[in-house]
């Protein structure tokens, strides 16, 4: 009896504080998600008033779709490069900007700014840079690599995506790393230098282990952003030239809304969700294990 009462009390407190959020979370996240999974088993075209259940055939079609798989492969490649480059650059920036150099606050703000501009606008700015400005410079100063638009070549277009994403995200990750650097206990570093450890030793044996929490967060964010990227992809290359830079989000969207294969697109989106969830959970699990106490 007493147990029950306590449960009701707890529920009341919960509803008071978290009720609205839970309600909203269920209606805008959980329900659409479940409905989306339901749609993967139907043949809905996105607009008609009726649809049929078709079992697993959408999933079979999703995996038979060679372009889906190659787009997935391209996305993996993109994620690999952006995650590595973003984190290395952000880490270096953070290291330099916590070393006490002049005007470091100005530089911190400067490197963070790209993150405040939306991906669509960034995409258009860089589209102009790659297809007009660099071509203009390349032609006038005879720099062969810039003499034709990077966006017209499949390989270079892929690298424009990587460059822009790294440029956009490294500022944000830098801020997290800066916080990490500032939280490394000064006494530990001092003790280490008294013991004769040089800068490199201090980095490997003290700073990096103490910064694992920041690294966990940054890796997670870059991984997740990399898999989900759509805006930069849309504004910068639109998947072109000839669909060679169509990353997975864009592919899935086109499948559902352009080709009007809603079921297949939704099934592919669900597969994407599973992969991203799996990758990030594994990453968080392993990097959590590496955390140490000071």
């Amino acid at each position: 009896m007493k147990e029950e009462k306590r449960f009701i009390d707890k529920l009341k407190t919960y509803l008071l504080y978290a009720g609205p959020t839970t309600f909203i979370f269920f209606t805008v996240i959980i329900l659409p998600f479940l409905f989306g999974i339901y749609l993967t088993f139907t043949s809905w075209d996105g607009i008609s008033n009726s649809h049929n259940l078709v079992g697993f055939s959408n999933y079979i079609e999703a995996f038979k779709d060679m372009k889906f798989l190659s787009s997935f492969g391209l996305t993996l490649k993109y994620v690999l490069y952006t995650v590595i480059l973003t984190n290395i650059i952000a880490f270096l920036f953070a290291y330099i900007l916590t070393s006490g150099m002049k005007g470091q606050n100005f530089f911190r703000a400067g490197f963070f700014t790209p993150n405040l501009i939306g991906g669509i606008i960034l995409g258009f700015i860089w589209q102009f840079i790659f297809s007009r400005l660099l071509v203009y410079i390349g032609n006038n100063f005879n720099i062969p690599i810039f003499s034709s638009s990077w966006l017209a070549d499949p390989v270079k277009a892929f690298w424009t995506l990587v460059i822009v994403s790294v440029w956009q995200n490294s500022g944000y990750m830098m801020v997290i790393y800066v916080a990490g650097f500032m939280n490394v206990p000064k006494d530990l570093l001092e003790a280490a230098s008294i013991d004769g450890a040089n800068a490199w030793r201090r980095m490997i044996n003290i700073i990096v282990p103490m910064m694992i929490p920041s690294i966990t967060i940054c890796l997670f964010l870059t991984l997740q952003r990399g898999f989900m990227v759509y805006d930069v992809n849309l504004a910068l290359t639109k998947g072109g030239p000839f669909k060679s830079t169509e990353l997975i989000s864009m592919y899935v969207y086109n499948q559902a809304f352009l080709s009007q294969k809603y079921g297949v697109g939704q099934a592919q989106a669900f597969v994407l969700f599973l992969v991203v969830a799996l990758v990030t959970v594994i990453q968080v699990y392993f990097s959590k294990k590496m955390e140490v106490e000071a």
Binding site: L16, G19, I47, S131, L258
Partner: protein
Amino acid sequence: MKFKKAISLLMSALVATTLFAGCSKSSENNTPAQTEKKQVKITVLNSKGEIQTQLEEMAKAFMSENQEITVEVIPAPTGQSPFEKVSSLYSSGNAPTLSMLDPGDVVKFKDKVADLSSEKWVNDSFDRSLDAAKVDGKVIGFPFTVEGYGFIYNKEVLDKVYGGNFDASTIKTQNDLEEMFKKIEASGMGSIIVSPMDWSLGGHFLPLSYATQSKSSDEVNKFLEDLKAGKVDLAQNKQFKGLMATLDIMKKHNISKNSPLSGTYENGPEALATKKAAVWFMGNWAWPQIHELDPENNSYAFLPVPISNDANDYGNSEIPVGVTKYFILDKEQNTEEQQAAAKKFLEWIVYSKTGQDYVVNKANIIPAFKNVTVEPQDPLAKSIKNYMSQGKTLQFMVTLPSDHWSKNGASMQKFLDNKIDVNGLAKEIQEYWKSVK
């Protein structure tokens, strides 16, 4: 303790009621205005980005003549298919009263749109202009624009090159075309600019090979059915091979051939206006942009895209013309009053002097109605009317599958960039058609 409990209960109840109050309020919001002042508000989704301002002005003119109706024109983002926009508006419960759709998408909305068969303008529309908007004998779409495309040429330049008067009807074969390009180049100018957009290459250029298969649209439809069934060998198809040979000629003379895929739509009118090129493959919707950059020159016109070296072949002196945008009228999420107001708006477009003036002269649209006698000012529209009056038109393939332009546009871009040859292209297009359900 008891007091605390009461407070917490009260609070949770409060939270719950505000939540639900939020819900009920929004549903009330939909219908207050018209019951009070008889003011009706209709929304019009515009999927022709280039005439957004003209449509807004047109709506204003309509509103000043019809005080009780407010018309709001909302744009669909260019580059996104109107189907995407409209279907997302439907699922969010905000369906526009009138939506401007591509012909191929009209029938998909057949459950949701009003029957327009008894409207006055149905009888005044051009033959076959309602074909794509008919379901089970009912008319569900309002044909808004007639468009056509081909090689846009700058007659001023060509007159100079040909030393006097250039006659477009002398260009009837691929050889004539190449001859013309060479002549232009000999005079020190660039001849043609090929824009690499997928919607242009896949949605307009490639379909020429379907439309030229036969004069009868049944035969063309049968050809597409055969493509779906995998029974057509495109690489051996005369029209397809011929069209790609023409594209080869265009590639050879393309002023941006060093980097054929880097161009954008805007480069086309720019090249024409600055006389870097004299010919551009595009349709009459490009007139506002050309006119803006080259306001003095009204001598632009269309040339057909030849597909062989026999002047008598079908397609060598015809250009594709057809209805490219329809309005549909929603009946599910709009009230009777809104539907009536929308019908009034459509009628106003067709029958009122102001409406006709806005459509023809301001928005540069060729209407699909016989009663409209206003002559278009814009030379490209004139050129199309010319071809129409001579009966030299091809079917504008407007009801192809919704992703046809995108998927095949990518293949065409590969061909334009010399990444694949004509056989590879034929294979990719056949693969696409086999995947269509």
